[in-house]
Assembly symmetry: D2
Homo-oligomer: 384 residues x 4
């Protein structure tokens, strides 16, 4: 039976790469490079096959998927002939994209955000029914929001439900999508640092509905390397003194994060790993710069100083040059499959073992990449 | 009861840093940065304390330890005032340095290499007795030799013992030291890529004498980082296509490795890790250049290309700038303590769990740094 | 009146990019980025316009230009739609490609290399006449040859002419092309480190025929940066102690230079600049590695150590990531135009002022990039 | 006859390195690495010899020079034994350090800043007379100030002179020192981005008094490399699209520039060169981070993207690792000698030909390093 993947931000670069890539894999036009769950450690875990995924989603703007795919092929993110070869799949997904929300109340409708959630949930439910899907996993891949202002209703599901019937903004858009996904009985993942499902009231909702969720902020570059390298210093007892990072981002992501408020969400998320691994704070700042000329590419330079025996000063620096959407897309497929599995197994609440994918792993107090991978593998391999 | 550490290459930079550093730690002049076995994971393992180590060794040349230490302080490897502050310890160790071997037969003595081994073993035994040591761990930190030519006697202890009574070179110097250490009842470690103990006949000797050993070629720079980074690509299913490396070495190590034959030993050793971790060969060469102006420092630049989703090409590069002796010295202390523990526990033959320290881990078919660390920790923590 | 550009290696990546690029410029599909002679300093110098260049050449193999252009567009060297848009121009140039030489005698013809030269010269003359060209500039962009073995006839035109009527190889292919070009009355440039025109006998030929020439080995990457950076150290009196370089090359160029003999030509050429600028030799090696996965891209990492005031050690490193053909192609257009101008002005022999373009500037004992540029500008601006 | 060098910020790292280094050169303990004016291009220009310089200066705090020199030797800026070997010279300079100003009125004295200037000028005059000096050059090497708020009196010497007799702050400290230097008949240089002499009223003063001056903000790292590399792109017609820079600074300089206001002075100064050389603005930001663990060292990483032929995207990145004081100190000696020469020649007002030394070259609209050097050499070589 097919599994649905509902993408919030369905016309963005990541979502388009996901849909085009899944179609390419199904058609035998590509191999699943970058798909963690296609590795030998996940054979036999009972994951839904990649060719049984069906796509839809929400967005508030953007060109149709075929046009977006052509854009991405011009900038080298996807191979030049692909948009034409998988045009049918792109159009099928485009037909399942519904208008999302900017967080405001429904025009001419009820005054509170609850009505927005009901509409979004109905979109997802309709998708599931039209395609007769076993289940639908909702993944938020839309632009990063600023950190949310605290609100007392965030801590209690009853209070939140009441507050949302009243006029005014209680939740940011990302959390409306999470609320809608859970209301529709769907597993959910936060692929960005936006608030999304990471509020106590929504955790309560997920547990009460018996739904698994995961988050947040996929690690696809600087932080991925950080969490591979920092344990090296720790296990060798080398004393890291400073870790400075500069991230140059083009494209839409760069423009969003150039906004200091949104960038702050990202920086907070990026800065969690190091003290967690090293056990102490270190000097150094993390910059996120928007460099439009880089297009869909991103470059990160990290400079680390450390002391060795008798206090001798040494350094390590690295430069990562990656294509953001190509790094993110296969992880979206992985998360869809793994959350579908968790759902099938009846797991409720946060799935900390998916922390391997995230900068700020909800439900997991472990940032070392290898250990995270071992936890993931063990979880996937354990019988339902 | 004190434990002896017998260093082959006792007047080199690494050995001098070991002796001066251990003295500084004992005197409270430094903290044990870089000593793996001082971490919380090794408390209670029953390791001999750092301040109960006594030093001696073999060398064929070199200035006295105090002079060498002053040299090292001028080039910033050890703090400027240290040689003066620990001069007594340096002189004590200097008094325990005996003349080594270049592999030739003893002058005016018996014609075979067996006599050399007997003399070397007697030096070690004398050291143990003079100081009333519980045990002596022998660690080879002398200059890298070229790969050894195969010899039938290398495969059988009986044949080797006979052959060594005859004139001619059967073993390279490093293996003579290993033979001598085992003959004297001492655990042994190969800190360099030289042949040392890594011959079947010497493994037979170690097992028959109930002695533990470990090797070879400590990873202290490029390969250390490689074995931390390569698993990241593997666990993320990113397809590494090329891994190119250039190592710039000053000092004595650089001069030795600039010799193509010795450099070959090192390159073979360095090139083992990648295919082991990635599961397939990759493009790219590894260069080792001698740049005398770098002194005791070494710089490694590695450039990695990999493919992501849909074949998009990306890259990672890193530059490591380290001080060779400062990176090596604390690991010598770690190995001395861990092999002393293995000896006390009665472990015989190769201790694969010490592979964490080595580029070419004898007895261990695992190159991923974090997994190696976990194996080491588990081994150390298990009851005797 | 039109000017011909005859490319030796006419079906290679560089030549294909030249022909496709010139067509794109003529059609207004691109701007002349990378063309030095399109800058304001060259307005009014009387250079032939870019849209009056006509292309032909020699090659010994290779797919037709249209096919090669499609290959280049797939690997991102030229924009995806270009091969289709300029297909007519590519076919017109393809129709003017003649079979070259591998240096052997003509099959079934005269026994010496002189007959080869006569055939090659006739190809060029035919091209000039068919198109009614004012002049034809011949530029060697074929694969790098190993350094040539010395031969007494290389030093004297008379001796060379006689020797070439005899059986046997007197000249390498690149020099046969140079001989043919000059025989046909054409200016000539060596774009590679191959021997080409750089023999005393051929200089004699050029001067006796009143023909200008230039060379050799265009600087398009590491050496370009080197000749921009090294003068900085010199003018600031900083003492460069080592300069190490690693060049990673994909594609055909990488494969050719992976051959130690051909690579030697390149390394010799690359190593000229530094001592010339700094006034003293420095430590360090230059590596050229073939990394096929890089395709048409090349990456160079250079590491420089230098001393400052009171002997303090510092370092600079850079990583250059460029597309070889895209860097080379506009310089081929520049050289064609500048040599056409020199020819029109009646200049005979080597034109040292074109040294700005070359790693090993024939006729110029100046490697500092800025000074070379000023010499070029002054030369171009001076009246005929 | 001796020449005086009066350093504002006389107990800082740069000043201490200047005094200790000049003493080391005089004693034959070091060679003049990094001293531009010791090169062959300046022989015969009539510069005062390095061993005829006498040092004094102003500061508001700091340990005595001998103590500061010992600090610098511990962190590797100056050789370990030097402070002891040149202790007499350090003490002689220490005896000529007078208390400076923080810009406030004299305690218990006149209410305006004019009194401060009179006191500072008297300090310099006294120094000149005590040592019978031919002339004294004043160089500002104190901490960077924030940009100064505009004031109408900055544009007219008469207005400024009147305003300074009144209570209140009209000038920042750096400009008080400049005013004092010129009042005392001394040439002056701004080594930092502080306002200093760069006000129209002070230019008027310099010209009316027949005094030369130069500035500002010595280029000793990232900007030095920038002005060597950017002309390469320009002369090759490569289209630079972005230039991003991250500067990691330890020590006092880093702490000062971590203050956003002072950092702003530096960033403005650093950002002048690129548009000046390339002729158009480019994307990218410049960061200045304080990383205390770096001590006196600084690391700059610059990442440049550019387009080549047919729009192909390429990149260059560099990492500069330098010791700030060691880079600055020899340039202070150069400026002292060159301004002494200008003074002797009777040159008044800004000396644009000294722009070679500065990020923001007063009186020179040329940022290309090589051209700046040629202008300097020509100026020095021209007869008085």
């Amino acid at each position: 039976m097919d599994v649905g993947v509902w993408l919030v931000g369905a016309r963005g670069s990541v979502a388009t790469t996901v849909v085009a890539g899944a179609a390419a894999l199904r058609a035998g036009l590509a191999t699943p490079i970058g798909c963690v769950t296609e590795g030998p450690d996940f054979t036999g875990a009972g994951l839904p096959p990649l060719d049984r995924l069906v796509f839809g989603g929400h967005d508030v703007a953007g060109p149709p998927l075929v046009k977006k795919a052509e854009e991405l092929s011009r900038s080298g993110v996807i191979p030049a002939p692909l948009p034409r070869l998988v045009a049918d799949d792109l159009e099928a997904a485009e037909a399942e994209i519904r208008h999302g929300t900017d967080g405001d109340a429904e025009p001419g409708g009820a005054t509170g955000q609850a009505a927005v959630v009901r509409r979004l949930a109905a979109d997802i439910t309709g998708f599931r029914e039209r395609h007769g899907l076993a289940r639908v996993v909702v993944i938020h891949v839309a632009s990063t929001e600023p950190p949310v202002a605290p609100h007392p209703a965030h801590h209690d599901l009853g209070a939140l439900t009441s507050a949302m019937e009243e006029p005014g903004r209680v939740l940011p858009p990302s959390s409306l999508y999470a609320f809608a996904a859970l209301s529709a009985g769907c597993p959910y993942a936060d692929f960005t640092p936006s608030t999304g499902v990471s509020l106590p009231a929504l955790d309560e909702l997920a547990r009460s509905r018996g739904l698994p969720y995961a988050g947040r902020d996929a690690k696809t570059g600087e932080t991925l390397v950080k969490t591979a390298l920092a344990p090296m210093f720790a296990s060798r007892a080398l004393a890291v003194r400073s870790w400075s990072g500069t991230n140059l981002l083009g494209g839409g992501d760069g423009a969003t994060l150039a906004d200091p408020a949104a960038g702050e969400s990202k920086r907070i998320s990026k800065d969690r790993a190091l003290p967690g691994i090293l056990g102490h704070p270190v000097e150094g700042q993390t910059h996120i710069d928007h460099v439009p000329h880089l297009g869909d590419w991103k470059t990160a330079w990290d400079h680390i100083t450390f002391e060795g025996f008798l206090g001798v000063r040494m350094s390590l620096q690295f430069t990562w040059q990656g294509c953001d959407s190509a790094l993110a897309a296969p992880l979206v497929l992985d998360l869809a499959r793994l959350l579908a599995l968790a759902h099938e197994r009846g797991q409720a609440g946060v799935v900390g073992e998916l922390g391997f994918f995230f900068k700020d792993p909800l439900g997991l107090d472990e940032h070392r990449l290898q250990i995270q991978y071992d936890l993931l593998r063990a979880w996937a391999g354990s019988p339902a």
